[in-house]
Symmetry: C2
Subunit: 218 residues, 2 copies
């Protein structure tokens, strides 16, 4: 049987003596829509995602939600790690958006790897830096950028090759941190300029260039 680590490209530089340590761990499967962590949970392991996608959300007291970042294969859910190693409780809510395959690295193994492998340390720090960057981006958007620009940005970001964005207004509202009604009204305004077309459950982009300009402008 092939090792998952051999298939995954992201730890290719790992020293051979440490490869074995990781290869011994068996990947776990998780069905879509599972809630992986809730605020206040104490995390138990360092998670490396092999396939699927995890969404990490922040929920306000008013019930509104905000997408913090998505975890893709080869990445790790940093907040859980900090929970284990820094003693902090989990502040976001992680939801499996597809079926998942992931490796759970227990604290003892993690500690050995951090002590022994400089390339593992680099992997971990890069992951931290990337997540912190994601968070800073979201913060900047929410604090300083207008809804219309954030909306244009997320539409471009989520569009497939044909310009189709399959997301409900509610999904988009969570992605940019606003209310559903606001998204509905803005989308209508943009549609009236002929740059997009609204359908039930999806949006079709008609003028990518116009949206790009809209996302960039002050």
């Amino acid at each position: 049987m092939m090792s998952w680590l051999r298939d995954a490209g992201f730890l290719a530089a790992l020293e051979p003596e440490w490869r074995r340590e990781l290869e011994g761990l068996k990947p776990v499967h998780v069905p879509a829509r599972t809630t992986l962590f809730r605020p206040g949970d104490a995390a138990q392991s360092f998670v490396i995602l092999l396939s699927g996608r995890i969404g990490v959300y922040l929920t306000g007291r008013n019930g509104r939600e905000l997408l913090l970042y998505a975890v893709s294969p080869g990445e790790t859910c940093v907040q859980t790690t900090l929970g284990v190693l820094g003693g902090a409780p989990y502040t976001g809510e992680a939801i499996a958006e597809t079926d998942l395959v992931a490796v759970m690295v227990p604290p003892t193994v993690f500690e050995r790897l951090m002590a022994g492998s400089s390339s593992f340390r680099q992997f971990v720090f890069r992951a931290f830096a990337a997540r912190l960057g994601d968070l800073m981006f979201v913060l900047e958007q929410v604090a300083f950028v207008k809804v219309e620009q954030r909306l244009a940005h997320v539409l471009l970001d989520r569009a497939d090759a044909s310009g189709e964005v399959s997301a409900t207004h509610q999904d988009l509202a969570v992605a940019i941190g606003t209310a559903r009604e606001v998204v509905s009204r803005r989308l209508e305004a943009i549609a009236s300029k002929g740059w997009i077309a609204n359908e039930r459950g999806s949006i079709r982009i008609l003028d990518r260039a116009a949206l790009t300009k809209m996302a960039a402008q002050p």
Copy 2:
């Protein structure tokens, strides 16, 4: 001559053989109001603050600023670390708010300590976790909490024993991520209820209990 490390309580658990490594580093002095890092800077070392205070700010394209967190003695400026170790550019702006004394740990020494000392690793991870927590708090406040509540919160947070808050409206606006005019108007509204008194450059809290309730309510 005493070692700075002996005076500082925060790395007391560090193994003796690694203490020497850190004690050899000479603390540097930095005058107040120095800009330590700007967005895009590549950080060169792991910074441990011995005395003074550093403010880390995010600046939007519209010129508005937002206080991300403050670094106190015994803490580290995490973003610079991630810059060194994760290869990410610096996203915030760090300003010395008082005269500073700090130890700059060069990457080579940092790498040795991370490899060899489990208590140093713990120190670093706790620092990361704390900062990530700060960031999540700010994000939640900005995304979901009303200005009036954020304002009450920051006033209580910054008041001295006698209830005096020495900060301009602009300072408060940056602390809660809004515009100066908005702070002025809200403060006036709160003052008209008799809970605070506005003076030039400072606010006196008259009714702590009322503010506390205001900060908590949905």
